[in-house]
Amino acid sequence: MTVQTSGVGGAPPPASVTAATTARAAAKPAAETRTPGMIVRRILYFAALFGATLIFVFPFIWLVSASLKTRQTVFNNDLFPFPLHFENYARIFEVVPLGNWFLNSTIVSVLAATTVTISSAIVAFGFAYFRFPGRNVLFWLVLASMMLPGAVMLVPNFLIWNALGQVNSPTFAPLWAGNLFGSAFYIFLLRQFFLGLPRELFEAARVDGASYPRMFWSIALPLTRAALIVVFIFELRAAWTDLMRPLIFLRDLALFTLPQGLNYLVKIYNPQGGGQGEFHLVMAASVIITLPMILIFFVAQRYFIEGIATTGSKG
């Protein structure tokens, strides 16, 4: 057969498309490559994908629409409410300390993401670069700890932070300080990237008299920037989204994080749970908690997608 000619940007091209283009490259009669059957099939693929896209995206539009309705109309299924009740967004800041919650979530997420990125990178470099007795056993422990269900650690972790007087504390330590010690999944991920760096780079630096911390800081880190960003945004998202730990560790309304605050709003407003029924405010708060993640996703989309794809192939 002919040589592959249709590679797009280095990535292996999708199979069936390539099969078709290869055939064309071999200068076969056009009728054979573009049969009506193939065109119909392609249209069907796109139709199915557009259908799926609608299912994934439409609920967002629905959410925004509901957040602009009134208490009476929030469940009425109109896609375009009129008039638009933007004042819901102002109301929600008046009835609960949403500004505080937003700030708390931002502090916790940035601290959690920063600390876990730095500490995991340090540990991952230790596993990737050095050869020392016990390395395999220790790395096996890292992998094993990845499989531990979080539930087992819940009660003792609570007792640790309780003993340190950090329950309901404005330092939010229980929500991020554990990240100072690295996280198994990120260590595993970053180690793979460090292993991919050519060892000669480091040997050359050794000859020039560079210390290990310097090699880590000036060679390893800059060359794995993309992977570090992946870790940072993954943890940012995880911390921004977490509900269980805030529920366990924070008691004062003013100290709540956004997910915990939204949970509280459901408690007081959700009509199905016996609340007061102001569900349009719950929807407005839901938009506020979701929007920052969507914005970050669009800015750092490449890292999200590549990060996810990598976890699958390295796993």
Binding site: M1, P12, P14, A15, S16, T18, A19, T22, R42, F46, A52, T53, P59, W62, L63, S119, V123, F125, G126, F127, R131, F132, P133, R135, L141, S145, M147, L148, P149, A151, V152, M153, V155, P156, N157, G178, F181, R206, T241, L243, M244, P259, L262, N263, Y264, V266, N270, Q272, G273, G274, I294, I296, F297, I305, I308, A309, T311, G312, S313, G315
Partner: protein, 309 residues
């Protein structure tokens, strides 16, 4: 090799020792964290599971009482049953639909990028917000039932009818299958194109190609997705908690009571920390057994490139 280390033997030994010392300096954060936040808590949790403890009084050893209570507590089989029911419905559907969408993506060339982005959007939505959104979508006269109505189906009350609560939760969690699609899509793109070309020449149809080329090649990624999603679905918490348990009482709480939610209630609402620890260990053992079973089963079908057996 460094000039200093290679010359004299004892200089070299010193160099090796120095490397080991530095290795442990780099590993120190994780070793400390492992002792304080993993090994220590696991041992503590095992000890507490044999005690009666409510934070205020010191833990009191009660032998196997907590484990005996696990046998009698009817909410244990209830919550375990709910969780397994959910996992058994959710994980296979998740994988089948993701496989379908990923193989569509592979067939549309460059357009795949935009679709992939759209599929992933729900994954960046905080779980609690997913919960509130689906309180709206699954409501009696909500969007889902209205869509079903178009097809002449009289939708159930997803949020209150005990039979339909868990299927409703499955529908909600399938909305966030984007990351699975991305993983499977990335794996599918790595399948050598020549294989499909050869198969086409041999007259193999789409299904045969999928079954005998695609599936074996992506079995590693498939296995990863299976394990990770099984473990995650056995611990589902945030969205369901917000939907059904934000208030202490509500409709259909019995059919939405998942194991982690019950564990959370026991530990942090009833402050029955000894019993909650026993519950945590039961979950740990169950997850271990299921994972071991999946690993064992995978030996039969996972194929790694370069594996010549």
């Amino acid at each position: 090799m460094t000039a200093a280390g290679a010359t004299a033997p004892n200089r070299r030994r010193w160099h090796v020792a120095e490397e080991t010392r530095w290795a442990f300096i780099f590993l120190l954060p994780w070793i400390v964290g492992f002792v304080i936040f993993i090994a220590g808590p696991m041992l503590a949790s095992l000890y507490l599971s044999f005690t009666d403890y409510n934070v205020i009084r010191a833990p009191e050893l009660v032998g196997l009482d907590n484990y005996q209570q696990l046998m009698r507590d009817r909410r244990i089989p209830l919550s375990l049953g709910n969780t397994l029911f959910y996992a058994l419905l959710h994980v296979p559907l998740l994988i089948i639909i993701s496989l379908f969408l990923a193989s569509l993506l592979v067939r549309v060339g460059r357009a795949a990028g935009a679709f992939r982005t759209a599929f992933y959007l729900p994954n960046v939505t905080p779980a609690v917000a997913v919960g509130t959104l689906f309180l709206l979508l699954l409501a009696g006269g909500g969007l889902l039932n209205r869509v079903l109505g178009v097809f002449g189906i009289d939708g159930p009350t997803w949020l209150t009818d005990p039979t339909w609560v868990k299927p409703g939760i499955v529908i909600m969690s399938l909305w966030t299958l984007g990351s699975t699609v991305i993983i499977l899509f990335a794996a599918m793109r790595n399948v050598p194109v020549e294989l499909y070309e050869a198969a086409t020449i041999d007259g193999a149809g789409t299904w045969k190609q999928f079954r005998h080329i695609t599936l074996p090649f992506i079995s590693g990624a498939l296995f990863f997705v299976l394990i990770v999603n099984t473990i995650a679905s056995l611990q589902i918490f945030a969205e369901v908690y917000t939907m059904f348990f934000a208030s202490r009482s509500g409709p259909a709480q019995d059919s939405a009571l998942f194991y982690t939610i019950y564990l959370f209630q026991k530990a942090f609402q009833d402050l029955d920390l000894g019993y909650a620890s026993a519950m945590a260990w039961l979950l740990f053992v169950i997850i271990l057994i299921i994972t071991a079973f999946q690993v064992w089963g995978s030996r039969r079908f996972v194929y790694y490139a370069g594996d010549d057996k």
